[in-house]
């Protein structure tokens, strides 16, 4: 035992036998180290500190569940016999985060059945105008004088200046001046984004709105009055410029989202079963008829079931909700149907599900900047499906494996 007489705290803390004792004590080692302390009374403090040091070596670890391990093993074994390797991060990025049940919402039918209850000029205007033309190739801007303006670029940028002057990709668009005598009659503009396109709209107050494929937005030519109101169908991301005296209100018919300055995502496609609002920064208030008003905090999302109108408040990774702006799609426990709907809208080609596959929930990430076959290849790894692509349609079948 003499060998310990020159030991200092650091020597004990890096000694294998000492570490073993602290981490996995047993009666033998307890007796041994007790004897060391007794025979070297001067070392008591050194040993005590060393023990505390070793005990403190505990660190935060990311969660890697048995399911994650199994999923990764599945890809490893399938790739072993292939020429190429799968890029796992497109499949499983974010697996180590808390899971959430993602649901989306459509409101058109609801709106159609209940439009008599809506006395709102904006919502009424929306109900009385045509639904987005999903087969058209170009983004359409319907101006207040009912003239149509089409934009051929894939990711266009619309900008309104303080006078309500619209420029599209830096080109001025003239629209009929509102006669001063009729100023109280609010004029609306409408933007329709077909499948396969996206657009950004900047308003005179600096607020920006990103519109995803297959969406439409209706808004006044100028934000007059004490509110800034926008109607949305489909998916939009907002960065709202702060103005406490003039709240920004996003309407979808079934809910109203009221904000002063914030960034958030609204997803409300007519064909989908659910609606979602996800908050990135600031706060928003969600008002649904017959329900209590709910305030969302950052990284929270509210999901509303279209059939039951039930609300669900969730803690989420908001990147899942907003990565579409970068051409990515990330989903956790999402229904196969919803994922395929997104693919359909993004690639502007109808996807028909031929077998009953509704029950499948999948998690993963898709890079939609690749072609549709690459995206579907990845989906086929996550769910037991196979697909056929024809000229103007995609067919999804149940595959025999699994």
């Amino acid at each position: 035992m003499k060998e310990y007489s020159t030991y200092k705290c650091a020597d004990f803390a890096s000694n294998q036998a000492f570490i073993n004792w602290v981490q996995h004590p047993d009666p033998n080692s307890d007796a041994f180290w007790a004897a060391v302390v007794t025979s070297h009374p001067g070392l008591e403090k050194e040993i005590e500190d060393a023990k505390l040091l070793v005990q403190s070596m505990q660190f935060e670890e990311k969660e890697f569940t048995k399911d994650d391990a199994q999923a990764l093993w599945h890809i490893i074994t399938t790739d072993t016999h292939k020429k190429n390797k799968t890029i796992v991060r497109y499949l499983y990025a974010g697996v180590a985060c808390a899971a959430s049940i993602a649901v989306l919402f459509g409101l058109w039918q609801w709106l159609g059945n209940n439009s008599d209850k809506q006395s709102d000029a904006l919502v009424e205007f929306a109900a009385n105008t045509a639904r987005p033309v999903t087969t058209g190739n170009d983004i359409q801007v319907v101006l207040s004088d009912q003239t149509n303006y089409t934009i051929a670029t894939d990711h266009s940028e619309l900008k309104y200046d303080e006078k309500g002057q619209l420029t599209v990709d830096s080109q001025e668009v003239t629209q009929q001046q509102i006669p001063t005598t009729k100023k109280e009659e609010i004029k609306f503009n409408q933007v329709i984004v077909p499948w396969g396109k996206r657009t950004t709209i900047s308003f005179a107050d600096g607020t920006r709105m990103w519109l995803n494929a297959g969406s439409r937005a209706i808004y006044p030519v100028e934000f007059t009055g004490n509110k800034r109101e926008v109607y949305i169908e489909g998916e939009a991301f907002f960065e709202v410029t702060k103005d406490a005296s003039k709240p920004f209100v996003v309407k979808t018919g079934i809910i109203e989202i009221c904000v002063t300055g914030t960034s958030f995502n609204v997803n409300s496609y007519p064909k989908d079963d659910n609606l979602s609002i996800a908050l990135v920064t600031g706060t928003v208030e969600v008002k649904q008829k017959g329900k209590e008003q709910i305030t969302l905090k950052p990284n929270q999302a509210m999901h509303i079931d279209k059939k039951t109108l039930a609300q669900e408040l969730l803690e989420v990774d908001v990147f899942d909700y907003i990565c579409w702006r970068e051409g990515l799609l990330r989903f956790k426990s999402e229904t196969l149907k919803n994922v395929l709907r997104r693919i359909e809208r993004h690639y502007a080609i109808p996807v028909a599900i031929k077998d009953t596959l509704e029950q499948y929930h999948i998690s993963g990430k898709l890079d939609l900047r690749n072609n549709i076959a690459e995206a579907l290849d990845i989906v086929a790894k996550l769910a037991p499906i196979r697909y056929e692509i024809t000229n103007n349609e995609v067919f999804i079948y149940k595959s025999d494996r699994l």
């Binding site: 803390a13 981490q23 070596m57 505990q58 990764l72 390797k85 991060r89």
Partner: protein
Amino acid sequence: MHEFIVKKIDLTYTDDAQLWDSFRNGNSHAFSHIYKVHVQALFRYGSKLSPDTGFVMDCIHDLFVDLSRHRTTVGITDNIRFYLIRSLKHKILRNLKKLHKTDNVSDYPFLLEAAFDERLHEQEVNLHKRRCLRDALNKLPERQKEIIYLRYINDFKNEEIAQIMDITYQAVRNTLHKAIENLRKSISKEDIILFTLIFRNQKIIDVKE
């Protein structure tokens, strides 16, 4: 759970060398056992080198696909965890280099964050010391953090750490010593403060008497 799996394997394979040989001879059961036992440690270590979970999983995936494809030509080992961790690190650093188009990977991060359960330590003095240690651990330089992690969490010997980090045995020893001394400073300062407090109180009592 983790220990249970390890024990179960020990029944089938007496040691790492034998398990590794079974894998090299094409025993798929051995290969999946190796994966099951080590994937958690690999993921955790990998996550210290990159915060991108998908990227770390990609590297683990590539590591096992490569092992499986080249099993007849991979070298022998009697310490599988060491072999895998070292291989994973090479892979991650090589891929990081590609990703960031840089040759300078010697200052890669080591995302280690100390944790302890405050409920477990009722003693006020120890609790305070633990907090100091936690803060001191978080402030250590990246390479000291890495050595500490490999030493105390992965139970690697200094020789193994030297190979994983591509430095000399002596450098590992010295760096580890330095790290521990840094940590100890954080709690011995506290001792001095505590001592002065007690001493002062003593004095006050003395005066009163």
